[in-house]
Amino acid sequence: MTAINSLIVRIGRFFDWHREVPAASLAFYRILFGALMLFSTLRFLLNGWVYDFYIAPRFHFAYLGFEWIPYPNPTVLYFIFVVLILACIGITLGFFYRISAIAFFFLFTYVELLDKTTYLNHYYFVSLIAFILIFVPANKYFSLDSYYNFVPAQKTIPNWSIAILKFQIAVVYVFAGIAKLEPDWLIEAQPLKYWLHTAHHWPLFGDLLKEDFTAYFFSWFGCLYDLLIVFFLLNKCTRNYAYGVVVIFHVMTWLLFPIGVFPWVMIAATTIFLSAAFHEKALRFLGKFFSGKQEQRTYTYLVRPNFKKQINVLFAIFITLQLLIPFRYLLYPGNVFWTEQGYRFSWRVMLMEKSGYAEFYLTDPKTKAAWKVDTYNHLTSLQEKMMSTQPDMILQYAHHLQQVYADTTILLGDKKLVFKDPEVHAEIYVTLNGRPSQLYVAKKYNLAVLKNNLSNRYWLEDFKE
């Protein structure tokens, strides 16, 4: 009974949004997140990705509802990245923190919204964390803002600012776990069977990674890990071990798969679950490099303006959305891997190996002109790869082709192909998680007149298991 009682007390404390907790946890988190984003932004720049992903493409796959976003010219784009770097530094140091957090959230999200080709779940995660950071008082402790008295220094902060971060991480893991409860992952161990094979040149482990057994082990372990890790992290008795598992798990995925900074984002993000004592110790260690000035601070215990109601409402909305969005695929018939309706923003990570072969045909019923499009003239190879398996991008590309070729004439030797108002048809084959390739889009639909919206994608061929 005592165990149950203490559990209830604990849960109660966890949901007591407004109780005061040590500020060190949030300050520690702010520094780690800022530093990691600084690294990530610099890496993005130094890899030449600003050019490759945002300047080189001649066409951009906008998100539904965000087509109105103005596309920046290269100078503005590089300027945005410079501001992003400054914002990361501002967040890390807690210097002009609020404005830095706001700038980082809007600019980072803006860049992400420019082209869905580069959509990654962890970018979405970063946007959400950055959004939360705007509202939490992460600069009240161990920050230049408090050092220079821009804000009153405080040793405690309200619990909600920690709890909401924990909630956000829990959403990522648990939904990623739920998404893995499906036959391809559990019964076929796909796509891991294929992906693990790519590391077969590793010394010692290479041969092991080829085994089907290994793929099943990773699949099942990964699923259980995602579903349960947060609960072990929340529990005081297990959290240190659980964090060890987090580190091992993500380092392993970093070694095995080309997933960039995502593992480090998660390793950093989950530190919020560690004890406040640890966060304080870490900050004290960091403080040594700043000649102990932090110790001389006088901390105010300020009476907070009573925003409890507003905060409760804001949280209720945020949490509800977070819980509902990943389930929106249930509103559609068919297999979510095939139709990809409700696929993005749902924490479906590492679940799908999908490749396509897409050919687009222009025909003008009036002039009888016909032309098979060379996609490499219009899209980058990354865009083509993404477009040929994702239905909304297929439609966007078709609409783009319609615009490009309307009222154009193609000269071929002594022949003229005149297009007034061309129809756009496509023939696309797709392979999904190891199944033989099958017809995805048949030539019968004029994609130029199909609307790109949230309605059911009847124009896709039926999925054959």
């Binding site: 094979h197 092991l208 529990n235 590492m350 490749s355 072969y357």
Partner: protein, 364 residues
């Protein structure tokens, strides 16, 4: 809480059991050994470098035959030069899919075989007597297609006349010999680099990232297959234009050797896929596939290669005439090539997990 505390020992136990089962699982396995490094080694030593050496040698001979022809243009030397041209053009069909590393740096693919060639541009260059063959504008006036034009456009007597009695005969001779010399001079360093340090770096880049040799091999293999499907067959036979045919757009239009070159190219692609007698993509596929697979993708692809080759072989040369007389047979070949391309670009690419871009990937 009690339950959770107890898990520490249980976990250790489970871990031990898993390790033992794992080991046991491995011992039962008897898949043949495969690794990318030995595939790359085989491709370099037994496929790519021999193909390069052969092409380089035939370009050397082509240069000699060209010199013979120029010093004494007659029916005999023309026939000998043509024969060597055909040999070289066919040898090239076994090299074009290795368009990476030194070949890429030297822009071999574009400068050796951009077709259809531009006859008017070639004639202008000859008449002017001054030209820079390395500029992009001249890509359609150089390489095998330009030689094809110089050696085959018109009747034999007309061609010989252009090299003997024509006022521009001297300039024409120079142009021909410049074209051949350019190819030889460009290809020799490619072979030299392979025989030097590139071979080792090719074999050592044995990862699956976009800068790995497997990625180069696979991507260029698929691209070159697309080239045969689209440029060699599709465009001339009207597949690109809803049935409007372009017979003069075939490869080697003047010699009328399009289908035999395309056939040779399919043989080259097949060797690229199988690695000849050694380790190749087919072995890679078999290694990745589950043991319980009924029909291997490798067998499907090989069977499709056979279908394509058989149907290509059945097409009569010159292809430009076959397109006007029996376009449905050509379209049939196109459809088979498309099936092959779908296999290679979707099923095979997906299975081998070889990347085409640097972008981070979380599998969606």
């Amino acid at each position: 809480m009690i339950i959770l505390k107890g898990t520490r020992h249980t976990k250790q136990g489970i871990l031990a059991i898993l390790c033992i089962t794992w080991m046991a699982g491995c011992k039962e396995d008897d898949k043949p050994e495969f690794d990318r490094k030995s595939m790359l080694s085989n491709m370099a030593i037994n496929v790519i470098m021999p193909a390069y050496t052969t092409l380089n040698g035939s370009l050397g001979t082509l240069q000699l035959e060209t010199a013979d022809f120029i010093s004494n243009p007659d029916a005999i030397s023309l026939a000998a030069l043509r024969a060597q041209y055909v040999v070289s053009a066919k040898n090239y069909q076994h090299c074009s899919m290795y368009n990476f590393g030194p070949a890429m740096d030297c822009n071999i693919k574009a400068s050796f075989n951009t077709f259809p060639t531009d006859a008017a541009k070639i004639e202008t260059n000859i008449t002017n007597g001054t030209y820079t063959l390395t500029i992009n504008e001249n890509l359609t006036a150089i390489g095998f297609p330009a030689i094809d034009y110089l050696l085959y456009a018109g009747s034999d007597s007309e061609i010989l006349a252009k090299f003997t009695t024509d006022p521009d005969a001297g300039k024409r001779k120079t142009y021909l010999s410049d074209l051949v010399a350019k190819m030889k001079n460009e290809f020799q360093p490619v072979l030299d680099q392979w025989q030097g340090s590139y071979k080792t770096s090719f074999i050592n880049a044995d990862g699956n990232d976009v800068a790995s040799s497997s990625s180069y091999l696979l991507n260029e293999f698929v691209k070159d297959l697309e080239l045969t499907k689209n440029a060699r067959i599709g465009i001339p036979s009207g597949q690109q234009t809803g049935g409007t045919i372009f017979p003069t757009y075939v490869e080697a239009y003047y010699s009328g050797l399009a289908t035999s070159l395309a056939y040779e190219h399919l043989v080259g692609l097949e060797t690229c896929f199988t690695g000849g007698n050694g380790s190749g993509f087919d072995d890679y596929i078999r290694d990745v596939e589950s043991d319980d697979v009924t029909v291997s993708l490798a067998d499907n692809i090989l069977a499709q290669f056979t279908v394509c080759k058989t149907k290509m072989d059945a097409l009569a040369d010159p292809l430009s005439e076959t397109i006007t007389t029996n376009v449905s047979a050509v379209n049939d070949v196109y459809q088979e090539l498309k099936k092959l391309a779908v296999y290679c670009k979707t099923d095979m690419t997906s299975m081998l997990g070889i990347l085409i871009t640097y972008q981070d990937n979380d599998g969606d």
